[in-house]
Symmetry: C2
Subunit: 191 residues, 2 copies
Amino acid sequence: MKELEEKIVREAQVLPGHVLKVGSFLNQQVDTVFLKKMAQETARLFAGLGVTKVLTVEASGISFATAVAMEMNVPMVFAKKHPSANMSGAQLCSPVYSYTHKTTYNIVVSRDYIKPCDKVLITDDFLANGNALKGLMEIVDQAGATVVGCCAEIEKGFQGGGDELRAKGVKVESLAIVESMTDDGKVTFRS
Amino acid sequence: MKELEEKIVREAQVLPGHVLKVGSFLNQQVDTVFLKKMAQETARLFAGLGVTKVLTVEASGISFATAVAMEMNVPMVFAKKHPSANMSGAQLCSPVYSYTHKTTYNIVVSRDYIKPCDKVLITDDFLANGNALKGLMEIVDQAGATVVGCCAEIEKGFQGGGDELRAKGVKVESLAIVESMTDDGKVTFRS
């Protein structure tokens, strides 16, 4: 999505450790006018595939998943990383290793919210090593439901997670794929 | 909002400790068709007040804040409860005591995302003791910006946080106000 690439070049910051900071418009402050455009593009990419639910993981994935689900007129579900007082009943659970935080955490979704008949579109703000998406796919699998595909707002192509999933036959679409980032802030995209 | 009250009666569960579980449609699985209606009603309640930004706190407040901000065509910002690798620069910070988790945590927003000229609508999924809203108001105050008002999807009226803020002159609107909940699941609303 050319407009997203341009916005990244204009507004993102490259921080040490291959961190692409897009908090000014994408995942802490969210430009909702632009979010709607990204959601429309995502709905177009996955149109006609019978998506019944959009699944993401808290917290920074929630705004994108909400906008996509609104565009597709289906429910949005998010997996929790942090235990909560108002979770009850049977849970679907998968461990996810975070390179950012150097720790493994469990992501959890109530079994009530993903049913075997569901066709699930998995979305997230970032796709890097793909661990979060793999955890979410595992949860859909535990529910006996079907993964229609995965969509990230920004994929870090050089970290390989997206291509690994594509090689397994998963439909992975990312609205922008960063091919390289230099420490002085130059970002190039996959064409 | 009558339709929300009816949905609570039909779909919510009352759990021990005055927990109203609405994860099936409001804050873990989100009924996005209904979310849009709630966002439209919120935009109506705060129309003409010059709102420039919607502020909430992660994680379960994000979907509502996103939908409201989309409806109002302004950015959405969420405060973080959990430290993140991609936060940098000056931060606005306020301690919030959580009765649910019996602990105090800091909520944090980058100073870049709330400016003195901003007129901020604060939203959340629940309003009970009002501690989260007070923390968010403190952050807006630190930024030198103006709080236009607060809106929760569901207020637990019997916990007093909303009325305390109203007594201080804050415009607090809640889409449903629960006046009482019994252990056998009967919920009554403020008329």
